[in-house]
């Protein structure tokens, strides 16, 4: 089954629940295993949270929107994240060491655990950042 669905959300913490609802609705159509579905929802929610938390760090309130695009083609799942926040420097993204127990720094680790690949692309003129998460399912 091939699929291509997208939705945009206000860049705000209150949108994270909507992001999960959208993701679950899309994955329902794919008849995925429940555990895999929830892992993918977590990865998407963490990436969306990173946009709110880091891409708009220091911004009190914004009317900007972020777009999430979920596509499946020949068992290759791709999830695109588009935002107009601060430009991401991929080399600067690091999760904390797991044995350094402290709050924070786990979102990117979860994404890497769940997905096969996470790449920032520079192919979208109308957006600042374009993250693509991919996984063979």
């Amino acid at each position: 089954m091939n699929l291509n669905e997208s939705k945009d959300f206000l860049v705000h913490t209150s949108s994270l629940k909507e992001v999960r609802v959208f993701s679950r609705e899309v994955f329902e159509k794919l008849n995925l295993d429940e555990d895999l579905k929830e892992e993918l929802v977590l990865a998407i929610a963490e990436a969306a949270q990173n946009i709110v938390k880091h891409g708009y760090k220091g911004v009190e309130e914004t009317s900007d929107r972020m777009e999430i695009k979920i596509s499946l083609k020949d068992s290759n799942l791709e999830i695109g994240f588009f935002d107009k926040g601060k430009p991401v420097i991929p080399e600067n993204i690091q999760h904390r060491k797991l044995d350094d127990i402290k709050p924070g720094g786990l979102g990117t680790f979860f994404i890497k655990q769940i997905m096969d690949d996470a790449v920032f692309k520079k192919d979208e003129q109308q957006w600042v950042n374009h993250l693509v998460l991919s996984k063979k399912i």
Binding site: R20, L42, Q113
Partner: protein, 99 residues
């Protein structure tokens, strides 16, 4: 997310309910941290928490560390399957007190 707190002797139990993400972490901390600061042993009952992301995990870590500072402890009770999976993904099952 919603919560309720019950008291029994020197143990306070915080029952969290719903989904815990970045949008509700301040509410969760406002519920949990004052109870820890009172010096009581705190039980966090997570049986009705259906979803937790890295922000929720941060609340658990902060609660655990605050309890150590205050000379008490936080025990995580009845953790739901979905939350346990995230705790294990973070390799915290040996660090946090799970029962």
């Amino acid at each position: 997310m919603s919560y309720k707190i019950t008291e029994e002797g020197n143990i306070s139990t915080v029952f969290l309910n719903g989904e815990i993400d970045m949008d509700v972490t301040e509410t969760a901390k406002e519920a949990i941290l004052p109870v820890i600061d009172s010096g009581k042993e705190v039980h966090l009952n997570l049986k009705d928490v259906s979803y937790m992301d890295s922000s929720g995990i941060s609340v658990l870590i902060e609660s655990h560390q605050r309890a150590l500072e205050k000379g008490t402890k936080v025990v995580i009770k009845e953790v739901s399957k979905s939350v346990l999976k995230v705790i294990m993904m973070a390799k915290l099952e040996q660090i946090l007190n799970l029962e």
